[in-house]
Every structure is written in structure tokens, then in C-alpha cells.
């Protein structure tokens, strides 16, 4: 077990997310209690990862691994320590040349086989809160070899107000997390399946807007 990750989340991240920020969960019954599973969400802030992980208890968090770009999160020894040791990310090499010659999902597949939970942001990068960007198909490529692993669509609102892209100061807002019904990879074409998944997240976004008509996301 990864002690430093456990302590980091039990002592710092979870108290911060739950007491200082506050999370309001809708559809919590859809959250899988144990792996293997893949959580899929829209991505607007660095806080998204911490919010999703904090939905679990610290003991379970050690089994959760966000997938993140290696060139951004692992390019210095210090960052490697923070993100790989403390957060436990699975680095993803975004190099087109590499992608042709080796299986970039090797680490992710290993983790799924070990019944771990993955977090993937298929928008690829942090975007604008009101508009979902088109999902990348990587997630479909990964799940087609795991048709029995549930994929859970999630919509997050509020983190982009607390800590938006390119902003230094943190301003507390309650984060709304909408969790949808699990989805499984079918024999559908990868592009089509990705669109279905995107549609599910979009539905959750619409549900959020229905519950909070005054907030135009």
C-alpha cells in the first residue's frame, strides 16, 4: 500500500475538498465501490481530479489512478514525485510516434487487471465550463478490450469557478458532482461509442442546468 498517498489524501486533500470547498453529490448510488472501473468526467480545473478521488475514503483512494499527460505532469523530478507518488497518476505519453509503435495504454490495462479504478478526462485538456469539448476516442480504444469494466459518466460543476485555468488564487465554491448510470463498451465502432459516452455526460450537464437554472454553467 502506498502510505504517502494515503496520508496525503487523509491529512490534506480530503479535509480541504470536503470542508473548505464542499462537494454536493447527485446520483451517488451509481459510484462503483470497488474496481475495476473507469470514471469519466468533463475537465475544467486541476481540482477535478482531487474532487473525484475524494468521493472515496482515504483507504480506497490508494486504488484510484487518474490518467494524465506525461509531458505535462512528469517532466521534472519534483512533479514526478508529487503526481506519481502522492496522487498516483498513470502517465500517458501523448507522442504520436510512440503511439504507433507501442501500446500507450499498457499501464492502464495493468491497473484495470489489478482491479484498480481509473479516472479519465476524455476532453483531453481543461476547457471551458459551459461547453463540453468533443471527447477523444482513446477511452474507447482502452475499453474495447475490457467490455465488462463499467464506465461511469460524471459531470462536474464548480471547480472551474474555484480554480479556473490560468488563475492563481483559489476562491471557494461548492462543487456539484452528477454521477450517471454505468456504461459498458459494446461492439459499437469506437467513434460511435465515444459519442454515446459524450452524450451521457451531456445529459448530466443538462440535469445540472435543470436543477440550477440561474447558473448558466
Amino acid at each position: 500500500m502506498n502510505i504517502s498517498k494515503y496520508l496525503f489524501f487523509a491529512g490534506i486533500v480530503r479535509p480541504f475538498i470536503n470542508l473548505v470547498m464542499g462537494v454536493s453529490v447527485h446520483g451517488g448510488e451509481h459510484l462503483p465501490l470497488s474496481g475495476p472501473a473507469i470514471l469519466v468526467a468533463n475537465h475544467n480545473s486541476h481540482l477535478d481530479t482531487l474532487v473525484l478521488m475524494s468521493l472515496y475514503s482515504s483507504a480506497k483512494i490508494v486504488h484510484i489512478h487518474p490518467m494524465a499527460a506525461a509531458d505535462y505532469f512528469c517532466n521534472t523530478p519534483f512533479k514526478r514525485f508529487i503526481f506519481q507518488k502522492l496522487i498516483g497518476i498513470i502517465p500517458l505519453k501523448r507522442n504520436p510516434f510512440l503511439q504507433m509503435h507501442q501500446d500507450i495504454f499498457m499501464e492502464a490495462k495493468k491497473a484495470l487487471k489489478k482491479k484498480e479504478i481509473l479516472i479519465i478526462f476524455p476532453e483531453g485538456t481543461r476547457g471551458n465550463s459551459s461547453r463540453l469539448q468533443d471527447f477523444k476516442t482513446g477511452i474507447a480504444h482502452l475499453t474495447q478490450s475490457f467490455p465488462k469494466v463499467p464506465v461511469i459518466p460524471i459531470f462536474i460543476h464548480g471547480t472551474e469557478k474555484s480554480l479556473p485555468k490560468n488563475e492563481g488564487i483559489f476562491v471557494p465554491f461548492i462543487t456539484d458532482v452528477y454521477i450517471g448510470k454505468p456504461l459498458f463498451h459494446t461492439k459499437e465502432d469506437n467513434k460511435k461509442w465515444t459519442l454515446i459516452l459524450q452524450g451521457n455526460v451531456k445529459q448530466l450537464q443538462e440535469q445540472f442546468l435543470k436543477d440550477h437554472p440561474a447558473l448558466n454553467a
Binding site: 464542499g22 454536493s24 453529490v25 464548480g158 469557478k161 479556473p164 488563475e167 488564487i169 476562491v171 471557494p172 465554491f173 461548492i174 436543477d211 440550477h212 437554472p213 440561474a214 447558473l215 448558466n216
Partner: protein
């Protein structure tokens, strides 16, 4: 100053509260055994226990604990408010300063600087928030943002801070059961009023009092709540505050009316925003603002009432 005076009567009143809660808990479990549907009631009750225990801790140690824990409630309330209203990206700096006013405000309460407590939010933050926003320079919806941020500060920081103000006011006629007596009196009365208005409204409610704001609030509920609050105040006021029974009756009726106003003010805000509850932090009750809506009217008004007549 640092010690909180806890008199016999205060202690009795807390025992009574715990006895009522225990009784309700047994009642609920009894009904559950008889296969009655009490799930929602149990959830509400559990949250109520947590609130009561939290407040017991807040008032049991010393004034520092009281101030810190109430500042925390004020923070949660303000966060809830800022999260439910529309805010602009340009307001981030102003919101940041709005949050910072909480430790400052409660520090002034802690050192007992009453005048600064009166002034910080209504005057200094009233000036600071728009000034910070003007420096950012986004003029679209400027007034809307200034006004809504300041309203939130008045409700969540200023009005809620009055719960602590009772402890720092230097009453020339000493309060017979301490500041805590008055604070508990106002808390009990406010909760009792909310409850009785609900009970009478549910049992006899026919004529809507504010059909546009909330169809569930009726004249029957209002009158039943106000009268029963007046009656309980007949006993509670002399038990916990310097008020006599007769005065207690009148003040109780006044506070019940004000509590009702706080209730419909928050309901109007929710209706405007198109939401049902202000939050989800208190399962079964909604948000913090749902719970303290009456208190933001009653706590300051009762404070100024006794400050005026007993100083």
C-alpha cells in the same frame, strides 16, 4: 470575558432539548419497527442531532471555541450563497475579499470591539467590494454583482454574527442567565416557531399567505405558529432572559412574525434562482441557509431589543 456563563436554567433547558430529541428518536425507531415509513423523518432527526451536538460543543468550552465554530458556520453559509447565485468570472477577486471579511469580523467579535462589528460589513465591505470590482474593470452587470455579493455578506456574516454579539455587549443590567441564556432563548424560539408553523400549516392550512412565494405557507400555519411561540415564550423568556412573562409573550409574538419574514425572504430568493433548497449539506433539511433563514431576522432584532431596554 473568555468564560461562558452557564447557569442552572441554561443547563436545564439543554437537558430538556436532549430529552425531546431522545424521545423523538425512540418514537421514530418504534414506528420503524411497526413498518411505518419514517425514513425521511429519521434522516432529518439524524441531521438535527448533529446540529445540536455541534452547537453544544460550540457553547460548552470557552468564547474562542464559540467564535471559531460560528465563524465556520458563517463561512459555510457564505460559500453556499456564492455557489447558488450567478457570479461573473471578474468577481473572483471581490469574492475572495468577501470571504476574508469573515475572520476579520469574528476577530473583532473575539476582542469585543462592538462598534467595529457594527461597521465592518455594512460600511467597510460595502465600500471595498465595489472598489475591488471597479479595479478589475468589468462593467457589465456591475450593480447586480455588487448588490448580490453585499446581500450575501449581510446575511451570512453580519446577521449570523449577532449570535456571538450577545457575549460581548456590556449590559448595565446584568443578564440573569448570561448571554448564553439569551442566545439559547432565540435559538429555541426560532426553531419552535419554524416547527409550529409547519405543524399548523400541515394540519389546518387552507388560505395561502404568500401564494406567489410559497403555496405551503398559510394563514392558519402562521397564526398557529405565532400564538404557540408566544405561549412558549411566556415560560421561556423569564426562564432564560431578563424579560418578564408578559413582556416575553409580546416579544415571542414579535420574534415569530420576524422569523416568518426571514423564512419568506429566503423562499423568495430560492424561487428567483429556481432552486428548491439552498444546498445539500444538511440531509433532510437542505442547506445551511434553509435552516438559518429565520435566525437572520430574529437574532439581530432581539439583540437590539434587549440592548435598548436593558442597557
Amino acid at each position: 470575558m473568555n468564560e461562558i456563563l452557564v447557569t442552572e436554567h441554561v443547563r436545564y433547558s439543554v437537558w430538556i432539548l436532549y430529552a425531546i430529541l431522545t424521545f423523538l428518536t425512540f418514537l421514530a425507531f418504534g414506528m420503524k419497527l411497526r413498518k411505518k415509513n419514517v425514513e425521511n423523518f429519521l434522516i432529518r432527526l439524524k441531521t438535527f442531532w448533529k446540529i445540536v451536538i455541534f452547537l453544544t460543543i460550540a457553547f460548552s468550552f470557552n468564547f474562542v471555541t464559540t467564535v471559531v465554530l460560528l465563524a465556520f458556520i458563517s463561512y459555510l453559509a457564505l460559500k453556499e450563497y456564492f455557489s447558488m447565485i450567478p457570479t461573473r468570472h471578474a468577481d473572483r477577486r471581490a469574492l475572495f475579499w468577501a470571504y476574508l471579511s469573515i475572520p476579520v469580523q469574528f476577530y473583532f467579535i473575539y476582542i469585543g470591539w462592538l462598534n467595529m462589528f457594527y461597521l465592518l460589513i455594512p460600511l467597510y465591505l460595502f465600500l471595498l467590494v465595489p472598489a475591488r470590482m471597479a479595479i478589475v474593470g468589468e462593467t457589465k452587470d456591475f450593480l447586480k454583482s455588487c448588490a448580490s455579493i453585499h446581500w450575501g455578506l449581510m446575511v451570512c456574516v453580519y446577521a449570523l454574527g449577532y449570535v456571538c454579539a450577545y457575549f460581548i455587549q456590556d449590559f448595565k443590567v446584568p443578564l440573569p442567565h448570561g448571554a448564553l441564556g439569551c442566545v439559547l432563548y432565540i435559538l429555541y424560539l426560532t426553531i419552535f416557531n419554524d416547527f409550529m408553523q409547519y405543524v399548523f400549516g400541515k394540519s389546518f392550512g387552507k388560505h395561502a399567505i404568500t401564494p406567489k412565494v410559497s403555496p405551503h405557507k398559510t394563514w392558519e400555519g402562521f397564526i398557529g405558529g405565532v400564538l404557540s411561540t408566544g405561549l412558549i415564550s411566556l415560560w421561556a423568556a423569564p426562564f432564560l432572559t431578563p424579560l418578564s412573562a408578559g413582556e416575553g409573550f409580546i416579544v415571542g409574538i414579535g420574534l415569530a412574525c420576524c422569523g416568518f419574514l426571514g423564512d419568506i425572504v429566503m423562499s423568495s430568493l430560492k424561487r428567483d434562482l429556481g432552486i428548491k433548497d439552498t444546498g445539500t449539506i444538511l440531509p433532510g433539511h437542505g442547506g445551511i441557509l434553509d435552516r438559518v433563514d429565520s435566525l437572520i431576522f430574529t437574532a439581530p432584532l432581539f439583540f437590539h431589543y434587549i440592548s435598548y431596554f436593558y442597557d
